[in-house]
Structure formats: C-alpha cells, structure tokens
Symmetry: C2
C-alpha cells in the first residue's frame, strides 16, 4: 500500500522568457552567474516583473514548495517508503521523487537542485522531470481515488475522509500555490474535495495534518 502525495499547480518554475529582460531578473541572474532562463522565478526577488505575468499571484514561490516538500519527507510514512511524492507545476511539468529520497534541507541547495533539474542540465537518478499535466499523472498512477484538499471543500473529520475515500491506491492532492483554489482542469480529476479546517491553511500545514491523519486511521480503510 503506497500513498501518492501530489503537490498540484506548484509555484515552482524557471523564469519565463517574457521576463528575461526585466531589470530585477537580470540582476538576480547576474548575482548567480547564470542566464535568466536558468534561475527560479521567485517573488521575493522578482516581484515587480511578476506584476506583468498571467496568474502572477499564484507563481514564483519556490520557498513554499520547499517547505511543503520537507514537511512530506520528514513524516514517518515517507521515511518508511510508504509515500510517493510528485510535484506538479503551474507550467505542467511533473517532478517525480523516487521513494525515500531526501531533498536538501538548506534552501540554497534545494534552489540549486531545482534549477539544474528544471533546466535539464543534470540527469538526476532520484528526481525525474516530465512534461505532463495533472490528468496524465493521475492516469499513469492509476489511482482508485484522488482526494483534493481545499478550504473550498466539504469540512470533514480525519477519520471520515480516510475511511470514506482512501483506498489501496489513492492520491492526496494539495495545492502548491500561495492563494486561490484548484483550476477547473484539476477539479475535474478529483473524486472529492475535502476541507480539514474552517480557517485557510498553508500547504505545509495541510500536508503535515493529512499525512498524520492517514497514518493514524488507515487501519480503518474499507476493503474494496
């Protein structure tokens, strides 16, 4: 029994071509001795340029993705090899993390690794990137259920959503973006949208809680 955790529409991407000529982009690329196409889009550095970007408020938050990733990879379920992590991005790339792989805890190193992986500069054995969308990823996993977590979903207790929706092969889908809900493209693929709290919570908080809930209640999962 493997749990699939997918960070959905994550705010992780290289600087798009439209912004290569922007002053703040050029300056942060120069600081790193790289071309603008090889650095991560980052709101804390490229805020002004990002105002011109479509969906700018949902993009360029590698810090948030890093925090979410570390939250998943620190859990007992992940450490035991019982969780498979995918990062689906805003631009429809899917980063597959081989089971049990620990990603860098230092933000600098995470940033460097993602820049290499997304630029295709380095073949990483433990991390693979593919140009596929959320639908294709779900098809490939072949999950029996796909459970999305969103404040806009139905408020449910942990034992309730685990027993109702988790099967032998299930996906937990959590937004990897700083605000807003899932796109229609993603919503169409979800079997249920669950809210775990009446307050809006950050992705890493939701991840920490739903994986803990899963660990606590999976014994109650109904057989098929």
């Amino acid at each position: 029994m493997l749990l699939y955790v997918v960070l959905v529409e994550s705010a992780l991407e290289l600087v798009p071509q439209q912004l290569w000529g922007e002053r703040c982009v050029l300056s942060s690329a120069k600081n790193k001795g790289k071309h603008p196409s090889q650095i991560l889009l980052d709101r804390s550095l490229h805020h002004t340029a990002m105002l011109k970007l479509k969906d700018g408020l949902r993009r360029g938050r590698p810090d948030l993705v890093h925090q979410a990733v570390l939250t998943v990879t620190g859990t007992p379920a992940y450490l035991r090899g019982e969780v498979k992590l995918y990062i689906h991005t805003y631009t429809n790339l899917v980063i597959e993390v081989v089971e049990g792989t620990r990603l860098p805890k230092s933000y600098f190193r995470f940033q460097g690794l993602m820049e290499k992986v997304l630029s295709g500069q380095e073949e990483e054995k433990l991390i693979r990137v593919e140009k596929i969308g959320f639908k294709e990823l779900i098809d490939r996993i072949g999950a029996e259920t796909v459970i999305g977590f969103s404040r806009r979903g139905v408020l449910m207790k942990p034992e309730e959503w685990v027993s109702k929706y988790v099967r032998e092969k299930s996906v937990l889908a959590i937004g990897g973006f700083p605000r807003g809900g899932f796109s229609q493209e993603v919503l169409k693929r979800l079997h249920a949208v669950v809210s775990i709290h009446e307050m809006p919570l950050e992705s890493h908080v939701v991840l920490a809680r739903v994986i803990y809930d899963y660990e606590r209640f999976r014994r109650q999962i109904s057989p098929l």
Copy 2:
C-alpha cells in the same frame, strides 16, 4: 489559555569569535558585505570551520530553526493567538516572538532578520532578544508543567500526554538542534519527557504533530 512552545537549545547563532578568521567564514561574510560577527553560523557554508567547534554537530542549522518556526506559525492555534513562541538558543539567548507575528517565509529574509536581531542592530517590536537561559525562561513564564518531546522519552499516545500533562499554562519544549538529546540543564526543568513515535523525527514534524494533538484534545484537559 495560552500554549507556550519553546524551541530549545536551537542551532541558531552568529558566527562565534573563535571562527572569525576561518577562510570559509571570511568568504561568506565578504559575499554579504558583512563582518563575520554579523552573519549566522551555517553548517552548509561553514562545515570545515565548525569541525573545530565544541558541540559542532548540534550548532549552525538556521535552516532547521526556520522550518520549525514556520511549522508553528502556520497552525490554526498560532493564527488564533493561542500559542506563544520562544526560540531558546545554544548560546542561551531567548528570542521572544510576539503572539500572532508571522516570520518571513523566504529563508533569505529570515536569515537577514535573525542576523539583525542577534547583532542588536535593529530594535524589532515583534521580536525581542534577551540573554537568559532555559531555566530563567521557564521561571518567567511561570508554567504549571513543562513537557519535553524526545525520542528518549516515554512513548505515549496524544490523548494520554495531553490529558496527563497539559494545564492552563503549559510549555511544550522541542529541541531546535539536528541531533542528540536535551542537555542535563534542560532535562532538570522538564516535568515529563514524551516520545510521540518510535522513529527519530525532525523537530518540525514533532511540532506539527504535537500542536495538532493539542488542538484536538485540549478539551479533555483536566481542571486543576
């Protein structure tokens, strides 16, 4: 009812004088245009120099402290102003975070803020630093119980430790260091040492779980 969360003996400090002359320290200080005394000790940059340091393996992990802090400040209890966070450091400083304050999510900004605060360069209204130890902090809080979490503690279920040890005014103490247990100095002040899992877990994972447990079970807290 306020819950006090203390990160204990945290691996967060400015580069100590002993290492100011080290090549890797000088180079990272120069990159930032600062004096070595004004930058954070960081294993990912100062590994070689840190081999000479007493307790080197337990120090210089500001990334770990950042991750732990964000885990706490993202919880519903913290967002509602029901949690007060303190960062006690290896060098016996205590950083007090005013209730409800959000610390920077970007690691760069967190680093910059901590460098300013620890250097005393900037008076921060929302973050106060004092040169006091764990004992003094506990005395000042005047907590009824101080509950430490450590793999070396007694394995207990959440409902068990919450109902047994949490009172109107309690401290949850979690190590802010990458390895090893609490020092004797800290152990002496704990009323109980609880283990939440048979596996060794990172501080942020423990924090996410114990605050969630606290939120779920605090209704069961026995009256004094």
